[in-house]
């Protein structure tokens, strides 16, 4: 028997009120948890995947779309650029590393990326088993792809045209899995990597297929690719290089940093609205706890007077009432965190694009703020009712009776 038990028994006696207050707190905390978790994961993903990429060059169109398709592999590509022009740009002295990409096919929703060995250098890829692709139609697959599509080394599969769906399958050539990557914790877990030649091969008319077995440079000269990921030699190029691309070529340059910032400012309005909505719910929760405690004081006055009579100090009873509020918010906060995590996991499970999948299994440091907010709400709501203790006249209360 301690004040914890007294408090919890009292809450249990007023089940419905307690339940309402817990739900309100849980709802507010839950929304904030989802927001924090999602913002954190999206931010992390954006940052991690664009880590060493200073610029993306692709066909003219929306720069955001170019970034989304070439770095995050979410959106559709803006179009194609002549491989010859791209090749010229890649040789520019300002460029330290340039990675060509040829996109357009998928296998079970996982994108097939035609590229060269510079890609592995850019993302620092290492193999879990097997080898990197060497010849046409050989692929090295990301860890997630291997796990969910149940592909093993030596397996073959057909790619499908487009970025999702299996409606238009390239039946004439099968890819063969040569290697599986270690989990990288970034977008490459969800990619199927091959050389650019394979992507070309898929899109040739079948009768022409045998004519092209030339070297890679020759292929590039005749063909088109989707985009190039560029790493500068020096930070100075940030200003000059994009302008040069945009003005003197038929291509566009987009900076991942700038486009991510722009994206965030676009979704920021929604996130902010939700955040204020959650804060409002927390406020209502505090008010509801306050009102129920305050109203209950009329009835509890006798209990508290009896406890004073039995030798409890005013401060002890002050803590007792405070504990009522704190218990509600503590339970509500824990429940809210759980709901937030579960909801995000659920959202993640229903998400179509595996590349941007959200997970509820991660914990972010902001959750500590939520716990503190819950604690603060509890104190705020119960401190005024608790202070009533100091005003109760025990002798009068107990003599007059109910």
């Amino acid at each position: 028997m301690n004040i914890f038990k007294i408090s919890s028994q009292n809450l249990y006696r007023n089940k419905l009120t307690t339940l309402l207050n817990i739900i309100l707190v849980a709802f507010g905390v839950g929304i904030l948890t989802i927001l924090f978790l999602a913002a954190n994961q999206i931010g992390n993903k954006l940052e991690k995947n664009a880590k060493d990429i200073d610029l993306v060059v692709g066909a003219k169109g929306s720069p955001l779309q170019l970034i989304m398709s070439s770095i995050y592999h979410i959106d559709f590509p803006t179009g194609n650029i002549p491989a010859a022009d791209a090749y010229r740009l890649m040789k520019n002295p300002m460029v330290k590393r340039a990675v060509p990409l040829a996109l357009g096919d998928n296998y079970n929703g996982y994108r097939i990326v035609g590229t060269d060995t510079t890609f592995t250098g850019l993302y620092g890829l290492s193999l879990q088993s097997g080898n990197f692709w060497k010849k046409d139609l050989e692929v090295t697959i990301g860890n997630t792809v291997a796990l969910t599509a149940k592909l093993h080394i030596g397996d073959t599969f057909f790619g499908a045209h487009g970025l999702t769906g299996n409606s238009d399958i390239h039946k004439q050539h099968a890819y063969v899995v040569k290697g599986i990557l270690k989990p990288q914790g970034n977008i490459t877990d969800n990619l199927i990597l091959t050389n650019i030649g394979s992507v070309y091969k898929m899109h040739e008319a079948p009768e022409e297929a045998h004519e092209h077995s030339a070297t890679e440079s020759k292929e590039i000269n005749n063909k088109q690719i989707t985009s190039i990921l560029i790493q500068y030699r020096s930070p100075m190029s940030v200003i000059v290089f994009p302008r040069m691309v945009n003005q003197s070529t038929n291509m566009q340059a987009a900076s991942p940093a700038m486009e991510s910032a722009r994206l965030f400012s676009l979704i920021g309005v929604g996130v902010n609205t939700l955040k204020w909505f959650a804060v409002l719910i927390m406020g209502i929760a505090a008010l509801s706890i306050f009102i129920s405690l305050y109203n209950a004081m009329k009835e509890r006055k006798y209990d508290l007077a009896v406890m004073r009579c039995l030798g409890a100090s005013k401060f002890k009873l002050f803590l007792l009432v405070l504990l009522d509020g704190l218990l509600v918010t503590a339970i509500g906060t824990c429940l809210g965190l759980l709901i937030g995590h579960a909801a995000l996991e659920l959202i993640g499970a229903f998400q179509e694009s595996s590349q941007a999948r959200l997970s509820g299994m991660l914990i972010v440091p902001q959750e500590l703020y939520l716990i503190a907010t819950g604690f603060f709400t509890g104190v705020l709501a119960s401190v005024i009712p608790a202070l009533q203790i100091y005003k109760v006249d025990i002798a009068e209360t107990l003599t007059k009776g109910h």
Binding site: M1, R13, V306, C309, G311
Partner: protein
Amino acid sequence: MINITSLAHNYEQGRRIVFPDWEIADMEHWLLLGASGSGKSTLLNIIAGLLKPSQGEVFIHDTNLYTLPARRMDQFRGKNIGIVFQRPHLIQSLNVLDNLELAAVMAGVPVDAEHNLALLNDLGIADKAQNYPAQLSQGQLQRVSVARALVNKPDLLIADEPTSSLDDVNAAQVTEMLTTQARANGAALVIATHDQRVCKYITKTYLL
């Protein structure tokens, strides 16, 4: 053991009651008699350390009650004085046994579960130990409140109109309980009442 000297209290409405001096020895049983409104409850509250008198002093075991700081006074009351009110005033959210434990916890005394059960047994309500106050009758509730007053083995047991809401049978039982339990626990007993049914149990009277 209890000494009250030159005690007087002014009510908020301006009425003033002067209480005659009173000395209660260890284990004595006293009746505090008087018509309603004569100040019986006020005097009991003063002796119990719940109401500071306007004038005069209350000594319990050589402790000048109203010179104690608030925190010490609460503790002192919890440990040394057991109070039975007109109404049982049990905590509705706790069962009978927990209500008894509460008395020990609030006074900062270790819980003596055996003693508590023995009390309930003596008062004939051992089978109600796990029940909640709402499930008990008036008479049973009053017994529980007597048991609660005795939990910390107090030196002084105070009862304010303990029989006023009870029928003859229950009133007799409660009065007998109070006297026997006070004797058994070695406590002095003061019952404030205007109930004639109580008078035949106790001879010493203090009239207001």
